[in-house]
């Protein structure tokens, strides 16, 4: 048993911690940094089931997704740096309580091995359940592109921990990596269209 498998509880705690931070943080810069750390733990979780190079692909795709969103925000001068939710009652205390409930539910589901996928280790079940639950909470609480993007990427990461164990083909890994990049690109585009820089070009004809 390699150290990756022996210490596999670390990424489970890591995704719970980074996922929790994603819910609680309001600063775009910190959200993207936390998301990047989350990808490191996700790659570790994938590495428990699959060879390290494949797990590294997940990490690289995730970091590229974070970089794409960060670059757009840098170009736009980090507008609305601190995100304050409007429509849904989501003060930090509310989000903290919701997070606690969701983590408890995810822990319970993980314990019951609800996914029942052959070949997936218990840490994989716990990790993916926590990621899926936190991602769903994220998109349920927010409508702002960066947050929705972070929520979707978290859900995708949770899904991939499971799906790569059952469908480890190269084509699927490449396609799902492309989905991560695609989500990041779409979120970047939405961020860009919301800035003052974005103007419909003049019609030439």
């Amino acid at each position: 048993m390699s150290w990756i498998e022996e210490l596999a509880v670390i990424p489970v705690l890591g995704v719970a911690f980074t996922g929790g931070l994603l819910i609680l943080l309001d600063n775009r810069r910190l959200i993207l940094v936390t998301l990047a750390w989350q990808y490191l733990f996700v790659a570790w979780l994938v590495g428990v089931t699959l060879p390290i190079p494949i797990a590294a692909v997940k990490l690289v795709a995730g970091l590229m997704a974070c970089s794409i969103m960060a670059l757009t925000l840098v170009k736009a001068g980090w507008p609305d740096q601190s995100l304050k939710p409007h429509s849904i009652p989501s003060g930090r205390v509310f989000r903290g309580i919701a997070l606690l409930l969701v983590l408890l539910a995810a822990g319970g589901l993980g314990y019951s091995n609800w996914i029942s996928v052959p070949g997936l280790s218990p840490v994989g079940v716990y990790g993916s359940t926590i990621l899926l639950a936190i991602g769903l909470l994220h998109i349920g609480l927010h409508e702002e592109p960066v947050r929705v993007g972070a929520g979707l990427l978290t859900i995708m990461a949770g899904f991939e921990v499971v799906y790569c164990a059952i469908e480890p083909s190269l084509a699927v890994i490449a396609l799902l990596a492309a989905v991560h990049l695609g989500i990041a690109l779409v979120v970047s585009y939405l961020l860009f269209t919301g800035t003052d820089e974005a103007v419909e070009p003049q019609v030439i004809e």
Binding site: I139, L185, Y189
Partner: protein
Amino acid sequence: MSAPLLLLLATGSIALSVTVLGNRPKSSAVITAIGSALMAVFALLVMLDEPLVVLGLPIKIYSTWRILGRALVLDGGNRAAIGFIYLTGAFVFGAAWATKASRNLYYIGLLSLGSIAASFMIQPFLFAAVFLEFTAMGAVLILVSPGHPVPRGGLRLLILYTLAMMAILLAGWMLESVGVTSATPELARRATLLLAFGFSVIMAVPPFHLWLPSAAGETNPYSLAFVTVILQSAGLFFLLRFLDNYAWLRAMPELFDGIRLVGIAMVLFGSFLVLAQKSFSKVMAYALLTDFGVMLLAVGAGTPEGYRLALGLSAVRVISLSVWALGLAWMLDHPGGDHLQLLRGAAHRSPLAATAALVGMMSIAGFPLTAGFPGRWGLLLTLAPLDPIAGWAILLAFLCVGATAIRWAYTLLSEPRLRERKAINFSERLFLGGGIVMCLVLGAFPQLLYPWVVEVAAGMTQLFP
């Protein structure tokens, strides 16, 4: 050379050439429409796996492109569907320049068609869900633009399609690897639930329709029409392929009852909400919901005739919705100007555009002598003896959307807010007039369209024995 690679490369190259053009709507429309039509011709007519001589050079175009252990295959089972989707694109792109749509519509729209074509060609076909996700990403970029920057509808679409992709991929794994059959009821139940969720999202079944009215209030109506037409067509083909591939699904009688029930619920939901709308774009969104519901009723008949009618309704929607959206987009002076009060008397300012919008709407409602009528009538005759409630639902959809059309006709024809006529040039007149004529001609002569559309499903040998 492989045909799938050629098709996708050509699609990408044309899209790239449109980006180089900058914001030239007419040139972009001409290039994407012609390019899309050529792709359709290629998909329909290319000779596969046979030696050919082109300009004195011997070549062979293979039907299969292998990449990373998977294959994209163009064959008799999907070439008509690919041709259909590219022809849809050609039809919509052709008139897009008259609608002030964002330039994303042209090149992202073309790339989205390529993604749908890939979803038809990918083997195993379950991975089509990933390509539908790419199409949804393209749809978001089409719906949101600097001119229409509110991203709520687009974000909802992206969230829903991402969740649907995951559900379908997991269900696919259960079907392919675990071996779901009618002899494994627990697994079959799980797979069916996942599939039901995935397809509910793809077919915009309430409450997964929420992106549609949001997007309708935020975007150019023509862009919305394009997005809904391609997503729904791709979703319908995907659903039919599932039914074609898995005998145990077809053998579940409760599945078709369930599909009909969902269709009836959609029709009721859309029909009542369409009456309450005060924005013409939202009327379009809810009328579409009733139309999707009617299409599901056709699929829920569970007979080859029902599947054929679903495909026919899908093709008719391309024409009806494009004409409606073209007229509406042309009438709008600014984004959000489609409120009942703001469009009062618009028919006096833009008579041809108002007529196009109303004829398109009446065709979606299924009025006699419009393109939408023969399909609805055929479905009513097929379904009413089998399920009378479904028959009543079709009539209700007609009555509610029809009544809304009459109400909007009254609004558009009432005393104008502004008296001066909006200038219209010859080509705009040609496209608007052509759309109206097409809706009426296909209403009178449905045999011009339906037999061809039915060929789209020729490869589904289990559904169409």
